[in-house]
């Protein structure tokens, strides 16, 4: 077997193994779907009235792309916690003692987590449609919108893979990732328009890749308003390109680093 084919076949085996767990532990699927529903309802009805909107948009339309982004970025943190759990239970040792591809465990993990994210985003989109969110663009654009969201989350998964292999305790991985993910997703255009930020934070928010992800989604779903122009920052004027640059950068850095961490991972 060529090494490419071997990596692919090992990755399929590992992905399957991870998806079996999703099937056996229904809590995973329940939380992957319930929390986005909760987010949508909470922001729509609790904070919705309190937030000053760009003129000409409904909060439902403004909000949903932001919630999509936050939820799937949070969703990709499970990659780190799951790998830390495998490490603790000795499974990574088992895999490392097998003549299998050195990257398959990580590929299988991130792909399975992307699968969970697809379920989350589907549920959120359906809930969104119920509370007034609409896609006002072509099918092609809408699909591209979802792809951009999922690609960014997939890249974050690889970053979290490295964190999980180095930190080695699932609970600590979760706490550590919240410390990074919350500022990233809140100091952004996720829930409020950027005009509401003070100047320094505003610059950070404009160049925050999460803002670009959200802006891409709003543009591609047709959730923008001509009365509320996009900020002038290049990152937000070219959000899809800027997001893809981040995706490539994150993968270029963290795929090799995570594989290296895996090769050296010590169980206990």
């Amino acid at each position: 077997m060529s090494s490419m084919a071997a990596t692919l076949s090992d990755s399929v085996v590992i992905t399957k193994r991870n998806l079996i767990k999703v099937k056996r532990v229904p809590d995973l699927i329940v939380f992957a779907t319930l929390s986005p529903i909760m987010f949508v309802l909470l922001f729509r009805y609790v904070f919705g009235g309190a937030i000053q909107l760009p003129p000409g948009t409904s909060y439902g339309e403004f909000l949903l792309p932001g919630i999509f982004a936050q939820t799937i970025v949070l969703g990709s943190t499970t990659t780190g916690a799951s790998l830390a759990e495998d490490l603790q239970k000795g499974l990574i040792d088992r895999f490392r003692s097998l003549p299998m591809s050195r990257s398959a465990v990580l590929i299988g993990r991130t792909v399975a987590d992307a699968g969970l994210n697809i379920i989350s985003i589907t549920v959120m989109a359906l809930t969104g449609l119920v509370v007034g969110w609409r896609i006002n663009s072509s099918v092609g654009e809408a699909v591209l919108g979802f792809v951009v969201l999922l690609l960014f989350a997939y890249a974050i998964s690889w970053l979290m893979a490295m964190v999980g292999l180095l930190v080695r305790t699932p609970e600590v991985v979760n706490n550590a990732s919240f410390i990074v993910i919350f500022p990233l997703t809140f100091v952004a255009n996720t829930f409020v328009p950027l005009e509401t930020f003070p100047s320094v934070l505003r610059t950070f928010a404009e160049w925050n890749p999460v803002s670009a992800v959200v802006q891409s989604a709003r543009n591609l779903f047709g959730n923008t308003s001509p009365l509320a122009p996009t900020p002038d920052a290049w990152s937000l004027q070219n959000p899809v390109l800027y997001t893809l640059i981040w995706v490539v950068l994150i993968l270029a850095v963290f795929v090799p680093l995570s594989v290296r961490a895996y090769r050296r991972a010590a169980g206990r």
């Binding site: 193994r17 079996i20 532990v25 000795g90 088992r94 003549p99 299998m100």
Partner: protein
């Protein structure tokens, strides 16, 4: 070397050995440091193809570190390590294809069933799908897990998980199997059945390196033993050779009245190969002998009815606890908790 599956053994797999190689494992001058801790301080050992080596030592001696290096999980700081003639760091992937590892803690996926666990590992050893499934079924049968094959491993007892873990490491018929404390934490019954499984594998020709803290376990399963303490080999040899280091067997009598002891010594002295030892306080007589059960019968005959005061009698062979005590001046269990660096072993450098 070659056994049939029918006899309960695993085929040793690799075919005839190449270039007259007879050692499946060769370790020379192995050193491993973790920061300031020197976990392994120049370990040498070899394991002949088809034999079982018991790597013996108290907690923290370095057993797991040896296993992790030999199974490619850890890089050594110095030394030469070859498994089935392959260098473990330069040809790691080929080594991995030839070995099976059962670590100190059962590494099974709790959410997969027993069957799914084995099938997955089989696939990752690059067996075809049909072959992986066939082997999974076979091994579940062999390790008495057929009834639980379709239950998630989460529901398994400790003993069942260990068996599943060993089954997983056997799925590709490895030439060399590493077992790191395979019975630690098992109840006595599971331990006994685990011993039977391991003895079966050894009979089938699989080369096995087994670590244990239980001296009885090594005595029972291993052809040869290497005793390590604080990262150094302190003794090696067969169980009998190690026992010879602490002396032979003894006949021990415990009586209800110490007054009868001098008379007994008189009658039994001809059987002793060395001076008898009398412990009046414990009302005990210990008689170094050679010859086994006949000596016991002969002793009772010589006492000729004067046995009313005898409370207990037995032929005691030194066990490996005695060996450890003689080698290190410490009892095996004590070593784990003791951290006095000045207590150097009484005998070092080991091989006789």
């Amino acid at each position: 070397m070659y056994a049939t599956e029918k006899s309960g053994g695993e085929l040793s797999g690799g075919g005839p050995s190449v270039g007259g190689m007879t050692d499946a494992i060769v370790v020379e001058g192995l050193v491993k440091r973790f920061g300031a801790t020197t976990a392994l301080d120049g370990v040498d050992l070899t394991v002949a193809e088809g034999s079982v080596l018991g790597l013996l030592g108290p907690n923290g001696a370095g057993k797991t570190t040896v296993v992790r290096i030999l199974t490619t999980l850890l890089e050594a700081d110095a030394g030469r390590v070859e498994v089935v003639g392959l260098d473990v760091s330069r040809e790691a992937d080929r080594v991995r294809a030839a070995i099976g590892l059962t670590g100190q803690y059962a590494a099974v996926d709790e959410y997969l069933t027993g069957f799914e666990n084995l099938e997955m590992v089989g696939r990752l050893y690059r067996l075809g799908r049909a072959e992986a499934r066939r082997r999974a079924g076979e091994l579940l049968e062999r390790f008495d897990l057929s009834g639980a094959a379709d239950r998630p491993a989460k529901t398994y007892s400790g003993g069942m998980r260990r068996r599943l873990d060993i089954a997983a490491s056997l799925i590709a018929r490895p030439r060399v199997l590493f077992l790191d404390e395979p019975t630690t934490g098992l109840d006595p019954r599971s331990r006994l059945s685990m011993w039977e499984f391991i003895a079966d594998l050894a009979d089938g020709g699989t080369t096995i390196l087994l670590t244990t803290q239980y001296l009885e376990e090594a005595d029972r399963l291993a052809d040869r033993m290497v005793v390590i303490d604080r990262g150094r080999v302190i003794a090696r040899g067969t169980a009998d050779e190690l026992k010879a280091q602490v002396g032979g067997q003894r006949l021990e009598f415990t009586v209800t009245d110490a007054a009868v002891l001098p008379g007994m010594v008189e009658r039994l002295r001809p059987l002793a190969v060395e001076d008898p030892v009398v412990d009046v306080q414990a009302r005990r007589l210990s008689l170094p002998v050679s010859g086994g059960a006949e000596v016991l019968a002969e002793a009772l005959r010589r006492l000729d009815g004067a046995t009313a005061e005898i409370f207990d009698v037995g032929l005691r062979r030194p066990d490996l606890d005695d060996v450890f005590l003689a080698l290190t001046g410490r009892v095996a269990e004590e070593v784990a908790t003791e951290d006095d660096p000045t207590a150097e072993p009484a005998i070092t450098g080991g091989a006789r």
